[in-house]
């Protein structure tokens, strides 16, 4: 299905909804940040620009 959202939902506004969503939401947010962190380290060895 193509994406119909005409509105810019705001990246921070999307993430904060996970953070405020109780324990389960905070776990999702933590996982998101963890993955970002891991991705950054993984990318680093090839990123010589």
């Amino acid at each position: 299905m193509s994406h119909l959202a005409y509105l810019d939902a705001g990246s921070g506004s999307l993430i904060v909804q996970a953070v405020v969503g109780g324990v389960a939401g905070a776990a999702v947010a933590a996982k998101l940040y963890w993955r970002r962190l891991v991705d950054r380290f993984r990318r680093q060895p090839t990123d010589h620009r």
Binding site: L4, A5, L7, S13, L14, Q17, A24, V28
Partner: protein, 474 residues
């Protein structure tokens, strides 16, 4: 239903979502849907949650119409016809209780939609309107199938147009109306954060929905929403989580109540006191003016106070818009009307000397009060002296303004408070002597007769107030 090709008028407030658009054709309110929106509509129309919301009147009445085209525009795959909202109002004209009830309805609708696999694309206060004191969700084009693993796209808009205004009034006692009127997209988090410092940081809703939200917005300003959606999905954001968040916001909004102080109301009634005889005479006069002639579709009660005359008018009219400047007075009236289930009186907050101007894109996206008026009856009771003396509006301007709010052939029921009346004397005492030489009954009558036919005139028993029924253009 056949649609005439003539007179298609696109609604100036409906252009943000290119997938659908509202049009006026005669008295009909139509919505064109593109191919994908039409597909979503068909799925939506078959769901139980949507049909029960429609049956309960929480979503505005909607049906498909044939032929499925807005004349002269072949873009639309399907055309819907909506129930007509008696008087379109803007959130900056609502009282605190109205904005709160509108927010609760928006959240209730979202909470019903999510388990059925739908969401709303946006979260704007402009998605809601009123049938009297009953809120109604009008943006049927906002429903779309929910994609699992995605938070609510309308959350930021909800915060800006509903939650932050409610926080301002509930926690700080600051009237939100001027803030919303000044910003068509609502109040940005960074604009209100400075007001919630110190211990106020900890007030309900403030730490998460205001401070953390703003910090996250600033921190993730560079990330695209497409990437963030994918990351949240991969991290396990679920529909249940989305539902839990909506429930949490709903619980918060319920906590954010701030009923107007009872003393404020009592003071108000005391200061606008009339003698029993005057009140009875005035009620009799207004009743006759309303009951005579054809049944009015729209009555504007300007300076409605406690709504006494709006209630009287509602007996003889389809819809009464009760305009009052004091937000606390409007809120008290709204709460009473809502408790009674009154669907013919819409109370609004507005300063008559500074009525809502046109707003948004090109100044027409949100229609001005004057453009929405077109009343069949205008009640201007005990209001002319406030404008002419209190606000220095020249008397000819006041009369012209009243006539301009009317549809052709409409009636104006207006009270002229003589300069000798105690209320007028009190106002005059605040201005240099001799500032308003034209403020005389004879002059008022002459000006009224220039624009209208004076059908009835009656002096109240106190002898310091005169009532007129004037037919515009008569």
């Amino acid at each position: 239903m056949a649609i005439s090709p003539a007179g298609v008028r696109p609604e100036p407030g409906s252009f943000r979502d290119p997938a659908n658009r509202v049009f006026h054709v005669g008295d009909d309110v139509l919505r064109g849907l593109d191919a994908q929106a039409a597909e979503h509509w068909r799925a939506l129309a078959g769901t139980e949650f949507f049909t029960s919301l429609l049956a309960a009147g929480k979503v505005c009445g909607t049906e498909s119409v044939e032929p499925a085209r807005v004349p002269g525009d072949t873009r639309w795959a399907t055309v819907l016809r909506h129930e007509r909202i008696p008087f379109v109002s803007h959130p900056y004209e609502w009282s605190f209780g109205m904005l709160r009830d509108a927010a609760l309805l928006h959240l209730e609708i979202l909470r019903a939609a999510l388990p059925a696999g739908f969401t709303t694309k946006d979260g704007s206060a402009y998605n809601l309107q009123w049938r009297g004191s009953e809120p109604v969700f009008i943006d049927v084009g906002s429903f779309e199938p929910v994609r699992d693993g995605e938070p609510w796209a309308g959350y930021r808009q909800f915060c800006q147009t509903m939650l932050y205004p409610l926080l301002l009034t509930a926690h700080l006692g600051v009237d939100f109306q001027p803030w919303l009127r000044a910003r068509v997209d609502g109040i940005e988090a960074d604009a209100v954060r400075p007001l919630f410092r110190g211990f106020r940081r900890l007030l309900p809703g403030v730490p998460a929905h205001l401070h953390l939200h703003a910090a996250m917005q600033n921190r993730h300003a560079e990330a695209t929403t497409t990437d963030v959606r994918a990351q949240l999905r991969a991290a396990g954001y679920s529909r249940e989580l989305a539902l839990a968040t909506v429930r949490g916001i709903e619980k918060l909004v319920r906590r954010l109540d701030r009923p107007p102080a009872a003393s404020h109301w009592a003071d108000y009634q005391r200061t606008c006191g009339y003698s029993e005889q005057d009140r009875a005479g005035k009620e009799q006069f207004v009743t006759v003016a309303l009951a005579d002639g054809h049944r009015p579709r729209l009555v504007l009660d300007l300076g409605a106070n406690d709504g006494r005359y709006a209630r009287l008018a509602a007996r003889y009219a389809d819809q009464v818009v009760a305009v009052e400047q004091d937000p606390a007075v409007v809120d008290t009236l709204y709460r009473a009307l809502r408790a009674e289930g009154e669907r013919r009186i819409l109370p609004l907050v507005m300063d008559l000397a500074d009525p809502s101007p046109g707003g948004g894109w090109r100044g027409v996206e949100r229609a001005s009060f004057a453009d929405r008026a077109g009343a069949d009856v205008v009640l201007a009771l005990a209001v002319v002296h406030h404008l002419a003396i209190g606000r220095n509006v020249p008397l000819p301007e006041v009369v012209a303004w009243l006539a301009d709010l009317c549809a052709p052939g409409a009636r104006i029921v207006v009270e002229f408070v003589h300069p000798e009346d105690p209320m007028a004397r009190r106002l005059l005492a605040n201005k240099p002597e001799g500032l308003f030489p034209d403020y005389r009954r004879a002059e008022f009558e002459r000006l009224l007769a220039q624009r209208c036919h004076i059908a009835r005139r009656e002096e109240l028993p106190s002898g310091t107030r005169t009532l007129y029924t004037a037919v515009v253009g008569g």
